[in-house]
């Protein structure tokens, strides 16, 4: 990706976020449909999408509430699905930590899988960006994603039927994430981190509350960091 474009960081963000429309529109529409089918008022369905703004957790919460699980269990389970957001928050801190508190608070609200993934890739590619430029990029990514999340939750809740059948939209999420993961694999240490995480995520997929992903993610981070240290030591030993 060329960095000599005249595009502002904000518009680069908009462009990088745009492909995720493919994921956001059907996913949020489905949430709206399921909300209405479950008997939620439109305001309640919308409150989920606006206050929580995290698809997997919203579906988890709604599913457990429909099954009449204890409210506290439903709450803890949905929050567990979102624990990875704390990892994203930590990972963004070295890049955005110097911004004003209100900007960090707004960015925190808009930290979703897609905005986080785009941001860390681009921040590493553009190490000379200032903090305001990074913030502008982050909000650029969010622009084509989060408003659509609200709008299509509402559309789904009002219309009551999901996207036309026949399109394999179920696979839009894996494809858009895989397309982002490819460029992230820049060093052997990145590969070690990814392979460790994939192996553990598949082995632990049966664990409740999304805990398999958390364990896989933490193990991947440790493996990557250790591989980095070992590779550096190896390189230093040679010279």
């Amino acid at each position: 990706m060329s960095s000599q474009t005249t595009k502002s960081p904000y518009w680069q963000g908009v462009r990088d976020g745009a492909p995720f429309t493919l994921v956001i529109v059907p996913f949020s529409m489905l949430f709206g449909v399921v909300g209405t089918e479950t008997g939620l008022h439109i305001a309640e369905t919308m409150a989920f999408s606006v206050l929580v703004i995290a698809g997997a957790a919203q579906f988890t919460a709604l599913q457990l509430l429909t099954d009449n699980a204890p409210t506290l269990i439903a709450l803890v389970s949905a929050l567990a699905v979102n624990l990875r957001m704390a990892m994203y928050s930590a990972s963004l801190t070295p890049w955005l930590g110097a911004a004003p508190l209100w900007q960090r608070a707004v960015a925190a609200y808009f930290t979703v899988d897609q905005s986080y993934a785009c941001a860390v890739v681009r921040f590493e590619q553009e190490p000379r960006w200032t903090v305001p430029e990074r913030m502008a990029y982050f909000f650029g990514v969010v622009t084509p994603i989060c408003p659509l999340w609200y709008i299509f939750t509402l559309t789904g809740a009002l219309v009551g039927t999901a996207m036309p059948g026949g399109l394999p939209l179920d696979f839009a999420l894996p494809i858009t994430f895989l397309a982002m993961i490819g460029p992230m694999l820049r060093t052997p240490a990145h590969l070690v981190a990814a392979l460790t995480s994939v192996t553990l995520a598949l082995m632990l997929a049966g664990l409740p509350y999304n805990l398999g992903l958390l364990a896989a993610g933490l193990a991947g981070m440790i493996a990557g960091a250790q591989a980095e240290v070992l590779l550096e030591r190896h390189r230093a030993g040679r010279t």
């Binding site: 894996p174 490819g182 995480s197 991947g220």
Partner: protein
């Protein structure tokens, strides 16, 4: 299922809890320097969490009821390989989607 004020309280608590998770480091640590060992681990957050998130969705797709599916597997491999080789996200997404459509059409 709960409704009325109890449901609103639930939604508000889930919203507040989720925001707290997103805010905890970015908001509270802010500009304070982080130790080198922690930074080294944080560099691998994205590349550790996202593949772990996607892997079960690829191997056991929800659309097939969790049965491994050749068109989806092929689409995943094409997307990942092109993303890795070209670093072009949009090209990788397009090629992956085409592979999926072609694979599903062939098997239909």
């Amino acid at each position: 299922m709960i409704d009325g004020p109890a449901l609103w309280l639930f939604i508000a608590a889930l919203g507040a809890g989720t925001f707290a998770l997103r805010f905890v480091f970015l908001g509270l640590v802010g500009n304070r320097p982080l130790p080198a060992w922690l930074l080294r681990h944080l560099r691998y957050t994205a590349v550790a969490v996202l593949p772990g998130l996607v892997a079960p969705l690829v191997v056991w797709p929800a659309a097939t009821g969790g049965t491994p599916d050749a068109p989806r597997m092929a689409a995943a491999l094409v997307t990942l390989a092109l993303g890795y080789a070209t670093r072009n996200v949009i090209l990788a997404i397009s090629a992956g989607a085409l592979t999926l459509f072609a694979g599903l059409a062939l098997l239909a």
